[in-house]
């Protein structure tokens, strides 16, 4: 009986936490700084910190994943004499799946953990309290620009990841393994559709961006304001963010590409 009570209590606590996080993000999104120039300045600063500074890891990872995918794809396709289809394999894999998922995982590790640690440290050093005491809502000043910047950056980073991955794959399959470049591009062009592949990939990236950035800013805002508390919150951001991405990916893939 006690186990049932414990399970029920855990479920209620979980629901309460989800509700609290929902109210938190709802209040943040609708409370951007009132003055437009200030809002734009804060947003640009965050776009740089969250997006531009994540470019290196996204570009390098995209290039290597594209190259590995080409090697693997070529070695299998060559057995069936279809090595020209490596471009098709590369583009569909990256645009539909690997681009959004791997970018989101990298984003959770680099930008998400950084957001949580930064907000957590602001809480520990009473900077958030300081905003409140000055009659400035920290949700609109600190949380909203970071959340919106994350949601804008992630899909763009995902597109960059896919583009760089295709270029990396092109270098390996065409320049190194000798696949005909005309066949590489034409098969890719024939098989990739804007609405089903590119747009669906972008929708996935937007969903992942909302989930990861939401988890990151919430964990930072609600962390225990000690060094241990900030460390745990940062870990939770990466773990929960990664799990949310993979779970959402399954649901979205089933909805977009499942044939049932």
């Amino acid at each position: 009986m006690n186990k049932v009570i414990g399970l029920g209590a855990s479920a209620l606590n979980w629901l309460e936490a989800v509700g609290k996080a929902g109210i938190f993000i709802f209040q943040s999104v609708f409370r951007l700084p009132v003055r437009l120039p200030e809002a734009i300045n804060l947003l640009i600063k965050q776009l740089y910190s969250v997006g531009v500074l994540s470019l290196v890891i996204v570009v390098v990872s995209g290039a290597f994943i594209g190259m590995v995918l080409s090697l693997q794809g070529y070695s299998i396709l060559a057995k069936f004499g279809s090595e020209d289809a490596v471009g098709q394999l590369l583009a569909l894999s990256l645009l539909r799946e690997l681009g959004p998922v791997v970018t989101a995982l990298l984003f959770a590790g680099r930008a998400g953990s950084s957001l949580t640690a930064e907000i957590g440290l602001m809480k520990a050093t009473e900077q958030l309290s300081s905003y409140e005491m000055m009659g400035v809502d920290p949700l609109r000043r600190v949380i909203a620009p970071r959340f919106i910047a994350g949601v804008i950056c992630m899909p763009i980073l995902s597109l960059i990841f896919s583009a760089v991955g295709i270029i990396g794959g092109l270098m390996v399959s065409v320049a190194w393994l000798g696949v005909h470049d005309g066949a590489f591009w034409s098969l890719m062009q024939q098989s990739v559709y804007f609405d089903t592949d590119i747009v669906n990939g972008l929708i996935k990236a937007v969903c992942f961006a909302i989930a990861v950035t939401w988890i990151a800013v919430y964990q930072g805002y609600e962390c225990v304001p000690t060094s241990e508390g900030i460390g745990k919150a940062t870990t939770r951001t990466v773990v929960l963010g990664s799990l949310a991405i993979l779970a959402l990916d399954f649901v979205l893939t089933a909805a977009m590409f499942g044939d049932f």
């Binding site: 050093t125 009473e126 900077q127 309290s129 005491m133 009659g135 400035v136 809502d137």
Partner: protein, 267 residues
Amino acid sequence: MDAYIEVQGLQFSRADRIIYDDVSLQIPRGKITAVMGPSGTGKTTLLRLIAAQLAPDKGCIRVDGKEVHTLSRFNLYELRKKMGMLFQSGALFSDMSVFENVAFPLEEHTKLSVDEIQVRVLEKLHSVGLKGAAALMPAELSGGMARRVALARAIALDPALVMYDEPFTGQDPISKGVLVELIRQLNEQGDITSVLVSHDVAESLSIADHVCILAGGRVVAEGSPAQILDSDDPRVQQFLKGEPDGPVPFHYPEVSADDTKSLGGAQ
């Protein structure tokens, strides 16, 4: 007494620990009130309750006649524009320079031009002796300087109420003297109500008009500095003289033997 802040029947606890048990006190308008007491009595908590950053379990707090915990978010933020708070850590915004930190409340809440803000900020920094540090970042300041910049920021909007959280802690004697003088000057220049939370007896009693001593979750003495010094309450005398033995325990209450075992402290 014309009270700017009225605390009535305040009860507040954290987890199972009672911080305040039916506390009532008044903070007079336009005066410096020192709230003193041993560490851990909840002095900072009282400031956070006055600013409505924490909500009491019972009782009410009125600031300038307004019951702060029943105000809407908008009205509370409006009221906070009339409050300045000097945090124990300074709480300067680490991504802004000294100048930007002091200018921030003016940019947020006034329609002053850039030039007017610059004049006002430099004036406030001059009053805390840090006009020359305007371009520095918080990481480049010493603890005492950070506290003085935070004070300049707290008074940037010329608030009606300034709350000081342990302003003298960790300060060298010169900085302490400067801060005492600054707090006194600020109060004399404007019609400011000041609440000073501290356990530095000499500094607090030297500038306070009204003193309130807290211990064990209650107000144990209240009055002018002279009345407090003359108090025959053993708790007040123990605190003022800094005696280890007396009714105010030095040691944190011990846990029971069973609890100690569960912590792994006893074999």
